[in-house]
Symmetry: C2
Subunit: 148 residues, 2 copies
DNA sequence: GTGGCTGCAAACATTTTGCATAACT
DNA sequence: AGTTATGCAAAATGTTTGCAGCCAC
């Protein structure tokens, strides 16, 4: 199957009986063309850069819809209070958050799948999603920290 | 060492030069005597039940302080927007969140330690904390869902 | 006594909602 | 044309902050 960022949103929307509108396209473009997780405010700014004029409320509504379509997902990282969003990549990944610089790294690998397999079925629990966030210090911040 | 819920908060505070106050004791009691993760609002309600009269702002401030002392930690679960808090149990555990009933299960086991070992040191990243949340459907909700 | 802490209220930040209008099909 | 979705503004939620007075030390 194609990569998720090449999905035809218009078709996806129509297939489910939703209308194709500017805000929905705008939010999808914003997510699709920027990798990593964006705050809602950041997404709104990006839609503006892309030439759309979208209200904040519509960004929220579009994000919820994209989530329902399985195209996007919310992720809450570390202590950050702001909700962040990213494409719902089918390859499961986890996040490394540096306590020093706040940098967030995506890591892809078998780890998340292993966790899923490990937990799925145990105690009758059917796993749907695995959210793994590892906090710590990246190489650079460790060095800077030592120097202080 | 003693279990975390038997720690003498007064001593802990004094050792770090903080004052021993009612709100701090109240929040500590609330966390200590209720297992699982509580919303801030829930914690405030519990302090009231315990006979304290604590302002919301003070609950927030006390929680931040407990976190700094390493006695409590914030955990953001699944889609829930509200911040939740729990004792900083030294044994690492992860959360199972049911998408149906919202029930949250704590699971203790070697899994989190394995993840830590797996990630620690890779790419020069020094792991400090591992936050793992698995969402899915518990046995009961799976059944109810099928029936609908 | 004095400086840290609290309570209160107001400010903030984020997300949700009601409703008249615009726009997709 | 008929609705669904949008924009706007207001409300709801959750959390933080400024400040005068109180209380632990």
């Amino acid at each position: 199957m194609d990569a998720i960022d090449e999905i035809d949103l218009d078709a996806e929307l129509r297939a489910r009986g939703y209308r194709v509108t500017q805000p929905r396209r705008a939010v999808w473009e914003a997510l699709r063309t920027a990798d990593g997780h964006l705050t809602v405010e950041h997404i709104t700014a990006r839609t503006a850069e892309l030439g759309y004029d979208v209200d904040l409320a519509s960004v929220y509504r579009s994000l919820d819809l994209l989530a329902e379509l399985g195209l996007a997902r919310a992720s809450r990282l570390g202590e950050s209070e702001a909700g962040r969003w990213e494409l719902a990549h089918p390859d499961e990944h986890f996040h490394l958050v540096c306590a020093g610089c706040g940098e967030v790294d995506h890591h892809i690998g078998s780890l998340v799948a292993e966790i899923r397999d490990h937990v799925d079925g145990a105690h009758g629990f059917a796993v749907e999603g695995v959210e793994l966030t590892v906090t710590g210090w990246c190489a650079r911040c460790r060095r800077d920290r030592r120097l202080r």
